[in-house]
Amino acid sequence: MSARTQVWLWFAQRASAALLGFFVLVHLATMIYAVRSGLSAGEILARTRGNTPWMLFYVLFVVSVAVHVPIGLRNILAETFAWRGRGLEVTVLAIGVFFLLFGLRAVWGVYAPGGAP
Protein backbone atom coordinates (compact mmCIF):
# COMPACT_ATOMS: atom_id res chain seq x y z
CA MET A 1 0.00 0.00 0.00
CA SER A 2 1.40 3.40 -0.98
CA ALA A 3 2.16 6.07 1.60
CA ARG A 4 -0.50 8.23 -0.10
CA THR A 5 -3.16 5.61 0.55
CA GLN A 6 -1.96 5.36 4.16
CA VAL A 7 -2.43 9.11 4.57
CA TRP A 8 -5.91 8.78 3.07
CA LEU A 9 -6.69 6.10 5.66
CA TRP A 10 -5.41 8.34 8.44
CA PHE A 11 -7.53 11.20 7.14
CA ALA A 12 -10.62 8.99 6.78
CA GLN A 13 -10.08 7.88 10.38
CA ARG A 14 -10.07 11.51 11.60
CA ALA A 15 -12.94 12.65 9.36
CA SER A 16 -15.12 9.73 10.47
CA ALA A 17 -14.07 10.47 14.07
CA ALA A 18 -15.31 14.03 13.75
CA LEU A 19 -18.69 12.83 12.40
CA LEU A 20 -18.88 10.11 15.05
CA GLY A 21 -18.23 12.74 17.71
CA PHE A 22 -21.60 14.27 16.83
CA PHE A 23 -23.42 10.94 16.28
CA VAL A 24 -22.21 9.43 19.55
CA LEU A 25 -23.22 12.51 21.55
CA VAL A 26 -26.75 12.24 20.15
CA HIS A 27 -26.71 8.47 20.66
CA LEU A 28 -25.60 8.77 24.31
CA ALA A 29 -28.24 11.40 25.01
CA THR A 30 -30.99 9.32 23.35
CA MET A 31 -29.86 6.25 25.24
CA ILE A 32 -29.80 7.93 28.63
CA TYR A 33 -33.25 9.40 27.86
CA ALA A 34 -34.66 6.12 26.51
CA VAL A 35 -33.70 3.92 29.47
CA ARG A 36 -35.44 6.20 32.00
CA SER A 37 -38.65 4.20 31.96
CA GLY A 38 -37.14 0.87 30.94
CA LEU A 39 -36.51 -0.33 27.39
CA SER A 40 -39.18 -2.00 25.30
CA ALA A 41 -39.31 -2.96 21.64
CA GLY A 42 -42.60 -1.10 21.30
CA GLU A 43 -41.07 2.14 22.56
CA ILE A 44 -37.96 1.86 20.37
CA LEU A 45 -39.87 0.97 17.23
CA ALA A 46 -42.47 3.69 17.84
CA ARG A 47 -39.60 6.15 17.63
CA THR A 48 -37.86 4.65 14.61
CA ARG A 49 -40.39 2.95 12.31
CA GLY A 50 -41.01 5.01 9.24
CA ASN A 51 -39.04 7.91 10.75
CA THR A 52 -36.86 8.99 7.82
CA PRO A 53 -34.74 11.62 9.65
CA TRP A 54 -33.74 9.02 12.29
CA MET A 55 -33.15 6.47 9.53
CA LEU A 56 -30.79 8.84 7.69
CA PHE A 57 -29.05 9.63 10.99
CA TYR A 58 -28.44 5.94 11.64
CA VAL A 59 -27.35 5.22 8.04
CA LEU A 60 -24.67 7.92 8.28
CA PHE A 61 -23.77 6.64 11.76
CA VAL A 62 -23.30 3.10 10.41
CA VAL A 63 -21.25 4.31 7.43
CA SER A 64 -18.93 6.27 9.74
CA VAL A 65 -18.54 3.24 12.01
CA ALA A 66 -17.77 1.01 9.00
CA VAL A 67 -14.96 3.44 8.05
CA HIS A 68 -13.65 4.11 11.56
CA VAL A 69 -13.52 0.60 13.06
CA PRO A 70 -11.52 -1.22 10.34
CA ILE A 71 -8.84 1.49 10.19
CA GLY A 72 -8.44 1.33 13.97
CA LEU A 73 -8.26 -2.46 13.90
CA ARG A 74 -5.70 -2.28 11.08
CA ASN A 75 -3.40 -0.22 13.33
CA ILE A 76 -3.87 -2.59 16.25
CA LEU A 77 -3.25 -5.70 14.14
CA ALA A 78 -0.17 -4.19 12.50
CA GLU A 79 1.31 -3.02 15.81
CA THR A 80 0.47 -6.03 17.95
CA PHE A 81 1.24 -8.84 15.51
CA ALA A 82 3.70 -7.05 13.18
CA TRP A 83 1.21 -7.98 10.48
CA ARG A 84 1.28 -6.10 7.17
CA GLY A 85 0.77 -6.65 3.47
CA ARG A 86 -2.10 -7.90 1.38
CA GLY A 87 -3.52 -10.34 3.92
CA LEU A 88 -3.99 -7.53 6.42
CA GLU A 89 -5.60 -5.18 3.89
CA VAL A 90 -8.05 -7.84 2.69
CA THR A 91 -8.99 -8.81 6.25
CA VAL A 92 -9.57 -5.20 7.25
CA LEU A 93 -11.61 -4.49 4.12
CA ALA A 94 -13.76 -7.54 4.86
CA ILE A 95 -14.36 -6.29 8.40
CA GLY A 96 -15.45 -2.93 6.98
CA VAL A 97 -17.89 -4.50 4.53
CA PHE A 98 -19.28 -6.70 7.31
CA PHE A 99 -19.87 -3.72 9.62
CA LEU A 100 -21.50 -1.77 6.78
CA LEU A 101 -23.91 -4.50 5.64
CA PHE A 102 -24.74 -5.79 9.11
CA GLY A 103 -25.28 -2.23 10.34
CA LEU A 104 -27.52 -1.26 7.43
CA ARG A 105 -29.52 -4.43 8.03
CA ALA A 106 -30.07 -3.32 11.64
CA VAL A 107 -31.16 0.16 10.52
CA TRP A 108 -33.60 -1.40 8.09
CA GLY A 109 -34.84 -3.65 10.91
CA VAL A 110 -35.92 -0.78 13.11
CA TYR A 111 -37.04 1.49 10.23
CA ALA A 112 -38.97 -0.75 7.85
CA PRO A 113 -42.66 0.10 8.33
CA GLY A 114 -44.53 -2.92 9.67
CA GLY A 115 -41.48 -5.06 10.40
CA ALA A 116 -40.13 -7.63 7.98
CA PRO A 117 -39.77 -6.33 4.41
Binding site: A3, Q6, W10, A78, E79, A82
Partner: protein, 253 residues
Protein backbone atom coordinates in the same frame (compact mmCIF):
# COMPACT_ATOMS: atom_id res chain seq x y z
CA UNK B 1 14.97 12.42 46.92
CA UNK B 2 13.81 9.23 48.57
CA UNK B 3 14.75 8.60 52.20
CA UNK B 4 16.64 5.34 51.74
CA UNK B 5 19.26 6.74 49.35
CA UNK B 6 22.30 7.74 51.43
CA UNK B 7 22.92 11.49 51.32
CA UNK B 8 25.74 12.74 49.13
CA UNK B 9 29.14 12.19 50.73
CA UNK B 10 28.21 9.21 52.91
CA UNK B 11 27.57 5.53 52.32
CA UNK B 12 27.17 3.73 49.05
CA UNK B 13 24.46 3.17 46.51
CA UNK B 14 23.64 -0.22 45.00
CA UNK B 15 23.80 -0.05 41.21
CA UNK B 16 22.60 -2.76 38.80
CA UNK B 17 24.32 -2.42 35.45
CA UNK B 18 23.43 -4.27 32.24
CA UNK B 19 26.21 -6.56 31.02
CA UNK B 20 25.40 -7.73 27.51
CA UNK B 21 26.01 -11.11 25.91
CA UNK B 22 24.33 -10.13 22.63
CA UNK B 23 22.83 -7.16 20.75
CA UNK B 24 19.23 -7.63 21.90
CA UNK B 25 19.13 -5.42 24.99
CA UNK B 26 17.21 -5.96 28.23
CA UNK B 27 13.93 -7.06 26.60
CA UNK B 28 15.67 -9.92 24.78
CA UNK B 29 17.43 -11.27 27.88
CA UNK B 30 20.78 -11.28 26.05
CA UNK B 31 22.76 -10.38 29.15
CA UNK B 32 22.14 -9.81 32.85
CA UNK B 33 22.27 -7.08 35.49
CA UNK B 34 25.43 -7.03 37.60
CA UNK B 35 25.41 -5.28 40.98
CA UNK B 36 28.06 -2.79 42.16
CA UNK B 37 28.29 -0.68 45.32
CA UNK B 38 29.34 2.84 44.47
CA UNK B 39 30.28 5.53 47.06
CA UNK B 40 27.93 8.53 47.19
CA UNK B 41 29.43 11.89 46.22
CA UNK B 42 28.03 15.43 46.33
CA UNK B 43 26.23 16.40 43.08
CA UNK B 44 26.89 12.92 41.74
CA UNK B 45 25.46 12.22 38.28
CA UNK B 46 24.52 8.83 36.85
CA UNK B 47 27.43 9.21 34.41
CA UNK B 48 29.76 9.73 37.42
CA UNK B 49 28.47 6.43 38.83
CA UNK B 50 29.11 4.54 35.58
CA UNK B 51 32.56 6.14 35.29
CA UNK B 52 33.39 5.15 38.88
CA UNK B 53 32.49 1.53 38.12
CA UNK B 54 34.58 1.49 34.97
CA UNK B 55 37.64 3.13 36.57
CA UNK B 56 37.63 1.46 39.99
CA UNK B 57 35.50 -1.71 39.94
CA UNK B 58 35.44 -3.27 36.49
CA UNK B 59 37.50 -1.82 33.60
CA UNK B 60 35.69 -4.04 31.09
CA UNK B 61 32.42 -2.08 31.44
CA UNK B 62 31.59 -0.44 28.12
CA UNK B 63 29.70 2.84 27.80
CA UNK B 64 29.80 6.01 25.70
CA UNK B 65 30.20 9.66 26.65
CA UNK B 66 32.00 12.74 25.40
CA UNK B 67 31.21 16.25 26.62
CA UNK B 68 29.80 15.52 30.14
CA UNK B 69 27.79 18.76 30.01
CA UNK B 70 24.64 17.94 28.04
CA UNK B 71 25.70 19.14 24.62
CA UNK B 72 26.92 16.14 22.63
CA UNK B 73 24.06 13.70 23.21
CA UNK B 74 26.20 10.57 23.47
CA UNK B 75 25.68 9.36 27.06
CA UNK B 76 21.96 8.52 27.09
CA UNK B 77 21.00 5.34 28.97
CA UNK B 78 17.91 3.85 30.55
CA UNK B 79 18.00 4.71 34.26
CA UNK B 80 15.43 2.99 36.49
CA UNK B 81 13.28 2.32 33.43
CA UNK B 82 13.40 5.81 31.90
CA UNK B 83 15.78 6.96 29.16
CA UNK B 84 17.86 9.93 30.35
CA UNK B 85 20.96 11.98 29.55
CA UNK B 86 23.13 10.52 32.27
CA UNK B 87 25.62 13.42 32.47
CA UNK B 88 22.88 15.81 33.55
CA UNK B 89 20.89 13.38 35.71
CA UNK B 90 21.63 13.56 39.42
CA UNK B 91 21.59 10.35 41.44
CA UNK B 92 19.54 12.19 44.09
CA UNK B 93 16.78 12.73 41.57
CA UNK B 94 16.40 9.23 40.14
CA UNK B 95 17.47 6.65 42.73
CA UNK B 96 14.71 4.51 44.22
CA UNK B 97 15.06 2.77 47.57
CA UNK B 98 18.79 3.45 47.44
CA UNK B 99 19.25 1.66 44.11
CA UNK B 100 19.87 2.49 40.48
CA UNK B 101 19.26 0.24 37.48
CA UNK B 102 21.27 1.29 34.43
CA UNK B 103 20.59 -0.26 31.02
CA UNK B 104 21.35 0.57 27.37
CA UNK B 105 18.83 2.57 25.30
CA UNK B 106 15.88 0.53 24.02
CA UNK B 107 15.02 0.07 20.33
CA UNK B 108 18.67 0.10 19.24
CA UNK B 109 21.10 -2.83 18.96
CA UNK B 110 23.56 -3.08 21.84
CA UNK B 111 27.23 -2.94 20.85
CA UNK B 112 28.29 -3.92 24.34
CA UNK B 113 26.93 -3.30 27.85
CA UNK B 114 25.62 0.31 27.89
CA UNK B 115 26.73 1.41 24.41
CA UNK B 116 24.19 1.11 21.60
CA UNK B 117 24.69 1.24 17.84
CA UNK B 118 22.91 4.45 16.81
CA UNK B 119 23.27 3.98 13.02
CA UNK B 120 19.57 3.23 12.43
CA UNK B 121 18.59 6.26 14.49
CA UNK B 122 20.68 8.62 12.34
CA UNK B 123 19.93 6.80 9.06
CA UNK B 124 16.28 7.63 9.73
CA UNK B 125 17.13 11.35 9.95
CA UNK B 126 18.49 11.00 6.42
CA UNK B 127 15.41 9.02 5.33
CA UNK B 128 13.18 11.80 6.70
CA UNK B 129 15.13 14.21 4.44
CA UNK B 130 16.76 15.80 7.46
CA UNK B 131 19.28 17.69 5.31
CA UNK B 132 18.79 21.36 4.41
CA UNK B 133 18.43 21.84 0.69
CA UNK B 134 18.88 25.43 -0.45
CA UNK B 135 19.26 27.07 -3.83
CA UNK B 136 21.25 30.21 -3.01
CA UNK B 137 24.99 30.39 -3.71
CA UNK B 138 27.64 32.46 -1.95
CA UNK B 139 27.21 35.04 -4.69
CA UNK B 140 23.63 35.69 -3.58
CA UNK B 141 22.67 38.01 -0.76
CA UNK B 142 21.68 36.63 2.66
CA UNK B 143 18.20 35.18 2.93
CA UNK B 144 16.18 37.31 5.33
CA UNK B 145 14.11 35.37 7.87
CA UNK B 146 12.29 37.44 10.45
CA UNK B 147 12.76 36.01 13.96
CA UNK B 148 9.14 36.97 14.59
CA UNK B 149 7.65 35.01 11.68
CA UNK B 150 5.43 32.05 12.61
CA UNK B 151 7.66 29.63 10.68
CA UNK B 152 10.85 30.79 12.38
CA UNK B 153 9.19 30.45 15.79
CA UNK B 154 8.22 26.85 14.98
CA UNK B 155 11.85 26.19 14.02
CA UNK B 156 13.01 27.69 17.33
CA UNK B 157 10.89 25.17 19.24
CA UNK B 158 12.64 22.17 17.69
CA UNK B 159 16.14 23.32 16.79
CA UNK B 160 17.90 22.49 20.09
CA UNK B 161 17.86 18.70 19.56
CA UNK B 162 21.18 17.11 20.59
CA UNK B 163 20.48 13.75 18.92
CA UNK B 164 20.75 11.73 22.14
CA UNK B 165 18.18 9.09 21.15
CA UNK B 166 16.18 9.35 24.41
CA UNK B 167 12.91 9.94 22.50
CA UNK B 168 13.62 7.07 20.11
CA UNK B 169 14.36 4.73 23.00
CA UNK B 170 11.15 5.74 24.80
CA UNK B 171 8.77 5.44 21.83
CA UNK B 172 6.34 2.50 21.76
CA UNK B 173 5.65 2.94 18.05
CA UNK B 174 9.36 2.46 17.25
CA UNK B 175 9.19 -0.77 19.24
CA UNK B 176 6.08 -1.96 17.36
CA UNK B 177 7.10 -0.78 13.89
CA UNK B 178 10.86 -1.04 13.38
CA UNK B 179 10.72 1.07 10.20
CA UNK B 180 8.97 3.99 11.96
CA UNK B 181 11.08 7.15 11.62
CA UNK B 182 10.72 8.14 15.28
CA UNK B 183 10.39 11.52 17.01
CA UNK B 184 13.87 13.02 16.52
CA UNK B 185 14.00 12.48 12.74
CA UNK B 186 10.52 13.95 12.31
CA UNK B 187 11.26 16.88 14.60
CA UNK B 188 14.22 17.61 12.33
CA UNK B 189 11.97 17.34 9.27
CA UNK B 190 9.47 19.71 10.89
CA UNK B 191 12.16 22.37 11.48
CA UNK B 192 13.09 22.13 7.78
CA UNK B 193 9.45 22.21 6.60
CA UNK B 194 9.29 25.54 8.44
CA UNK B 195 12.57 26.78 6.97
CA UNK B 196 11.49 29.28 4.31
CA UNK B 197 14.83 28.93 2.48
CA UNK B 198 14.46 25.18 1.99
CA UNK B 199 13.60 23.84 -1.48
CA UNK B 200 12.88 20.17 -0.77
CA UNK B 201 9.52 20.53 0.97
CA UNK B 202 7.64 18.24 -1.38
CA UNK B 203 10.12 15.35 -1.18
CA UNK B 204 10.33 15.78 2.58
CA UNK B 205 6.57 15.61 3.05
CA UNK B 206 6.49 12.45 0.94
CA UNK B 207 9.29 10.99 3.09
CA UNK B 208 7.51 11.56 6.40
CA UNK B 209 3.97 10.59 5.27
CA UNK B 210 2.25 7.28 5.98
CA UNK B 211 2.59 4.29 8.30
CA UNK B 212 6.36 4.54 8.70
CA UNK B 213 6.12 8.29 9.29
CA UNK B 214 4.07 10.85 11.18
CA UNK B 215 0.71 9.13 10.63
CA UNK B 216 1.76 6.18 12.80
CA UNK B 217 2.19 8.42 15.86
CA UNK B 218 -0.44 7.71 18.54
CA UNK B 219 0.26 10.82 20.64
CA UNK B 220 1.49 8.74 23.59
CA UNK B 221 3.77 11.74 24.21
CA UNK B 222 6.41 9.60 25.94
CA UNK B 223 9.03 11.25 23.70
CA UNK B 224 7.88 14.69 24.83
CA UNK B 225 7.82 13.58 28.49
CA UNK B 226 11.37 12.23 28.31
CA UNK B 227 13.18 14.71 26.00
CA UNK B 228 15.96 16.22 28.14
CA UNK B 229 15.77 19.44 26.11
CA UNK B 230 11.99 19.63 26.62
CA UNK B 231 11.30 19.86 22.88
CA UNK B 232 7.61 19.58 21.89
CA UNK B 233 8.24 16.49 19.74
CA UNK B 234 4.65 15.21 19.58
CA UNK B 235 3.56 18.68 18.54
CA UNK B 236 6.13 18.66 15.71
CA UNK B 237 4.78 15.29 14.51
CA UNK B 238 1.22 16.67 14.71
CA UNK B 239 2.40 19.60 12.58
CA UNK B 240 3.68 17.16 9.94
CA UNK B 241 0.35 15.32 10.03
CA UNK B 242 -1.52 18.55 9.28
CA UNK B 243 0.84 19.73 6.55
CA UNK B 244 1.01 16.35 4.77
CA UNK B 245 -2.77 15.98 4.91
CA UNK B 246 -3.20 19.44 3.42
CA UNK B 247 -0.73 18.49 0.67
CA UNK B 248 -2.69 15.28 0.06
CA UNK B 249 -5.97 17.15 -0.33
CA UNK B 250 -4.32 19.60 -2.73
CA UNK B 251 -2.93 16.68 -4.76
CA UNK B 252 0.65 17.60 -3.90
CA UNK B 253 1.64 14.41 -2.07
Amino acid sequence: MDQSTPPAGSGTIRVSVWRSTGPGGVASGEGRFEAFDVPRQPSQTVLDVVTHIQRHLDPTLTYRFACRVGVCGSCAMVVNGEARWTCRTHVDKVSQDGTLEIAPLRNLPVIRDLATDMSTFFDKWARAKGQFSGSLTRKDDFAVVSPLSAERQQVDLGIECIGCGVCYSSCDVVEWKPDYLGPAAMNRAWTLVNDTRDEARRERLAAVAGDAGCHACHTHMTCTERCPKHLPLTSAIAGLKRVTTRALLKGEL
